[in-house]
């Protein structure tokens, strides 16, 4: 059985700057993978490559055995790749429910969208429950707090029913309480989905991660369990060097 | 708070203004019969805004002057004329709308108006349906003779053909045609080509540019490459400015290659730059310098009313004439009723600033004298050639054998 996601030899060059340099990256069915690395390591670029937002200069991306290089973003979503963004983007003019409903309806033929939404579908209901946003369902998304928006994004992702979920720093800017809730949400989702999470926070990582991939300066530094990665001297150097400069924000255990 | 309040207040004011406009506009003006009461209403319909305002405002001014003079002399049939001025806004549907308004709301006795062929074509059905009268004061492309329009400007055989006669006399047999892309230049050029074929002249090229076009270097290059003896220019409006400026800078002079224009009059000369156009010929029926008593009076009265710096031009004079000609016909008919005025109009002859003008009852065009002029360093135009006598209008060119195929 082939891996769910296979990134081979991918390089990305922006105006002479190598954002990614020959990266190989594989994720199997059902995995919960964490992607870490200092700022500018190429984490978000890698996710952009996988979801089609950025085109690789060289290399291929395969999803479930098929090469998806030529496919546009929405086509990849239709194959089952879903993502969230660092700064959450939800539709402020629409209600929470409408946001979720939109996310759940993309497989419907366009003509059927011409009718009004009547009631709530199972998928949306589930997403509401999972993210505990049921009470806010009829509120406009514009009034949500930062944390609630992130959950709504995750909820929209669940409603899409993707086979691979990519989450870009889901707990950034959250209070510790919100982090816990997001973490629980993540474990819940990871039970029956393949998930890739970009995260800085090592505490969070230690608590939830199984396998970790470390990127540095566009290259894959190391891949392994949390403990293996923590023990690796190169990782310590990369992170400690940075930690000294930027105070102990992203502490490595 | 204050900002929000201001916003609301400003906006609320706006609503009120708009509502008021809507309300008032729906109130219908109640006008009685044109001749009822102590005045006779006449409509003036020209573009007072938009691209054509430059030209048309002056025609309206000339018409207002004529109305003022006629009123000072006792009016028409013992009643003063009351002008109702509307703005065609350089927009053809607006001309149709306003013509409709003048006829059905203001119940005017007649309308003086229009400049572009397009505005006339848009108004024509309105006047024909309502059996109302329009006096159209500008030279045009001919091939039209509406029973409800009087044409006081030249038709093609009173301007284009004399212009060609003049070029032929001057020995300019190889010509290049340059025009704006609309009906007058295209029709004029068809006539020119037929004339050229019958008179041993050659047309070396024919180029059109969109209205309002201002980039003439390519066209200048084409003209220069073709080496014509003369250029026949039917460009309109601002394009003339760009064309003459760029022609001048390419080294073309009036001596080496005269450009005969049929849409450049006294008013346009300064805008083009006297430098750029001095010495080039134009074809019209009237110039400010035309010498006769009626013209001295007209020019003096116009300058007295509108300022000494103002010039008079052919379309203005044709508009000025139109009012007098209509008044004369109404006097002759003893009424302002349309059919009676039409019937009375044939054969009316008046000494006007351009010379003797006679209404041709059959076509409702005028007998007019064609005049070729040269642009002088002072910006005025000096006549160098004329047709000797007023030419009978022939909008369909029926009397010109070579034009047989043109007006099927």
């Amino acid at each position: 059985m082939t891996a769910l996601l296979e990134v081979r030899d991918v390089s990305v060059v922006f105006d002479g700057f190598r954002a990614l340099d020959g990266v190989n990256f594989t994720v199997d069915h059902g995995e919960l993978r964490f992607l870490i690395g200092p700022n500018g390591a190429g984490k978000t670029t890698l996710i952009d490559i996988i979801t089609g937002l950025t085109k690789p200069t060289t290399g291929t991306v395969s999803f479930d055995g098929t090469v998806v290089n030529g496919k546009r973003e929405h086509q990849r979503v239709r194959l089952g790749i879903g993502r969230t963004f660092q700064t959450s983007v939800v539709f402020e003019e629409l209600t929470v429910l409408e946001n979720l409903d939109l996310a759940a309806s993309f497989r419907k033929p366009l003509v059927s969208l011409l009718t009004r939404r009547k009631g709530v579908t199972e998928k949306v209901e589930q997403a509401l429950e999972t993210t505990q946003l049921t009470d806010l369902a009829s509120r406009k998304a514009g009034v949500l707090s930062h944390g609630q928006r992130q959950w709504l994004e995750i909820g929209m992702l669940i409603a899409q029913g993707p086979r691979l979920l990519l989450l870009d720093e889901p707990v950034a800017g959250m209070s510790s309480e919100e982090r816990v809730r997001t973490g629980d949400l993540l474990t819940e989702i990871a039970k029956d989905h393949t998930v890739i999470v970009i995260e800085h926070d090592m505490d969070f990582l230690r608590r939830y991660a199984s396998t970790v991939t470390v990127l540095h300066e566009g290259k894959l530094l190391i891949e392994g369990s949390v403990d293996e990665v923590r023990a690796d001297p190169r990782v310590q150097e990369v992170y400690l060097g940075r930690a000294r400069e930027e105070a102990a924000h992203d502490v490595v255990g | 708070m204050s900002y929000a309040f201001l916003r609301t207040a400003a906006a609320a004011g706006l609503v009120l203004v708009l509502a008021a406009c809507g309300g008032e506009a729906t109130e219908s003006a109640t006008g009685g019969d044109a001749a009822s009461g102590s005045t006779i209403k006449v409509g003036l319909l020209h573009s007072l805004s938009g691209t054509m305002a430059i030209s048309e405002v002056t025609v309206r001014d000339a018409e207002l002057l004529a109305i003022e003079e006629i009123n000072a002399a006792g009016g028409v049939l013992g009643k003063k004329l009351e002008p109702v001025v509307e703005d065609g806004a350089s927009d053809w549907p607006t001309f149709a709308e306003k013509a409709n308004k003048l006829i059905s709301q203001d119940k005017v006795a007649t309308v003086f108006g229009g400049w572009t062929s397009a505005s006339r074509k848009a108004m024509l059905p309105v006047f024909e349906r309502h059996k109302a009268l329009l006096w159209y004061p500008v030279q045009y492309e001919g091939l039209e003779s509406s029973p409800y329009i009087f044409y006081t400007g030249a038709t093609t055989n009173q301007q284009i053909i004399p212009g060609l006669d003049y070029l032929k006399e001057q020995g300019k047999t190889k010509i290049f045609l340059v025009g704006s892309d609309y009906v007058f230049p295209r029709t004029a050029n068809k006539i020119i080509k037929a004339y050229a074929a019958a008179n041993g002249m050659t047309v070396l090229g024919e180029e059109y540019t969109p209205l309002g076009h201002t980039e003439y270097s390519t066209l200048t290059n084409k003209v220069v490459q073709a080496k014509p003896d003369a250029v026949f220019n039917t460009l309109n409006g601002d394009s003339n400015v760009a064309f003459f400026k760029q022609l001048k800078s390419a080294g073309v002079t009036a001596e080496s290659m005269p450009v005969l224009s049929v849409s450049v009059a006294e008013e346009e000369v300064t805008g083009i730059g006297i430098d750029n156009i001095v010495g080039h010929p134009v074809a019209w029926n009237y110039y400010q310098t035309t010498e006769n008593a009626a013209n001295s009076k007209f020019v003096a009265a116009f300058k007295a009313k509108y300022g000494a710096a103002k010039v008079t031009s052919d379309p203005m004079e044709a508009g000025y004439n139109a009012v007098y000609l209509w008044a004369e016909a109404a006097k002759k008919a003893g009424t302002v009723e349309v059919e009676a005025v039409k019937k009375a109009s044939g054969g009316i002859a008046l000494e006007r600033p351009e010379g003797l003008v006679t209404i041709d009852g059959e076509t409702q065009h005028m007998y007019k004298t064609a005049r070729i002029g040269i642009i002088q360093p002072d910006g005025l135009i000096k006549e160098v050639w004329n047709s000797g006598e007023p030419i009978k209008p022939d909008p369909y060119l029926k009397t010109y054998p070579w034009a047989g195929s043109l007006a099927s």
Partner: protein, 288 residues
């Protein structure tokens, strides 16, 4: 054959006119995302400046007018920016409509001040005559365009202010957090961009009509240059202007002026199929 060869300098001179008009636009568009529909009326203001200066400078008014028009149009731009546009950053479509309203008003103001007919601006005697197929006044415009491009390049790359401007253009928020007063930079950009329109206006008095609607004749073409060249891209604007100038010149030579305009539009649509962001793009990760 000679005709074909002549079209080359003609194309370049059309390009020079396009470039002069588009330069200011590409700046304000690029840095602030502002589509200034009143740009054409700043051009008109520059042309009328030359007209008014004739009373003092006679035929050489055009030369004197260059710096004066730059300041006059620049100040008009500055006022517009301060009074209105700064409240609308991030709302490009609203600015577009707002400035269109401003352009209508300015046209009517010009009509009331100077009258509806075109006015006469005499060109200097030393600009009369031709060098080969190229009239002197066209060469003057070409030099003016080249001079403006060089000036802007030096300003942007060799002065502290210019570098700040580039920083704001590339990342407004980052520039703001690194201590650049973005408001001030915006004002300066608008002043320069509008000032360039003033210079273009003076140049246009040499070849075209000077009237209240002068700006409207050139504005659509100038926008197309900006679209094809890419936002705020000096080299993009230069290349796009050159390409459109030559295309215009040859398309008109082989067909006619009407068809040439249609061809240019079709080519731009086709071009955008390959380069939807124009020739050159500032890359950013921002998601809209």
């Amino acid at each position: 054959m000679e005709g074909i060869l002549n079209q080359l300098p003609i194309g370049l001179s059309i390009a020079a006119v396009l470039l002069l008009i588009a330069l200011g636009l590409t700046f304000t568009f690029g840095q602030m995302g502002v589509i200034n529909m009143a740009h054409g009326e700043f051009i008109m203001a520059g042309a009328y400046t030359a007209y008014l200066l004739q009373d003092f400078a006679g035929r050489n008014a055009v030369l004197v007018a260059l710096p004066v028009a730059f300041v006059v149009a620049g100040l008009m731009g500055l006022i517009l920016e301060r009074a209105a546009i700064r409240h609308f950053y991030g709302r490009p479509l609203d600015t577009l409509l707002l400035t269109w309203g401003v352009s209508l008003v300015l046209q009517q103001v010009a009509r009331d001040l100077f009258g509806a007919p075109n006015v006469q601006v005499l060109s200097p005697t030393w600009l009369q005559g031709t060098f080969g197929p190229m009239p002197y006044n066209r060469m003057f415009i070409l030099l003016l365009a080249v001079g403006s491009v060089v000036g802007i390049w030096v300003y942007m790359n060799r002065t502290a202010l210019g570098r700040r401007m580039q920083a704001v253009m590339q990342n407004r928020q980052l520039a703001a957090t690194s201590g650049i007063n973005t408001g001030q930079v915006d004002q300066l950009t608008f002043f320069i961009g509008s000032g360039l329109a003033g210079i273009a206006g003076v140049a246009l008095t040499l070849i075209g009509p000077v009237g209240p609607t002068l700006g409207t004749y050139y504005i659509v073409d100038a926008f197309l240059v900006v679209v094809a060249g890419g936002l705020g891209q000096l080299r993009g604007a230069v290349i796009a202007a050159a390409a459109l100038g030559l295309l215009n010149s040859y398309a008109e030579f082989w067909t006619n002026a009407s068809l040439a305009k249609v061809i240019v539009f079709a080519v731009i649509i086709a071009f955008l199929q390959f380069r939807p962001q124009g020739l050159f793009v500032l890359r950013s990760r921002a998601l809209t």
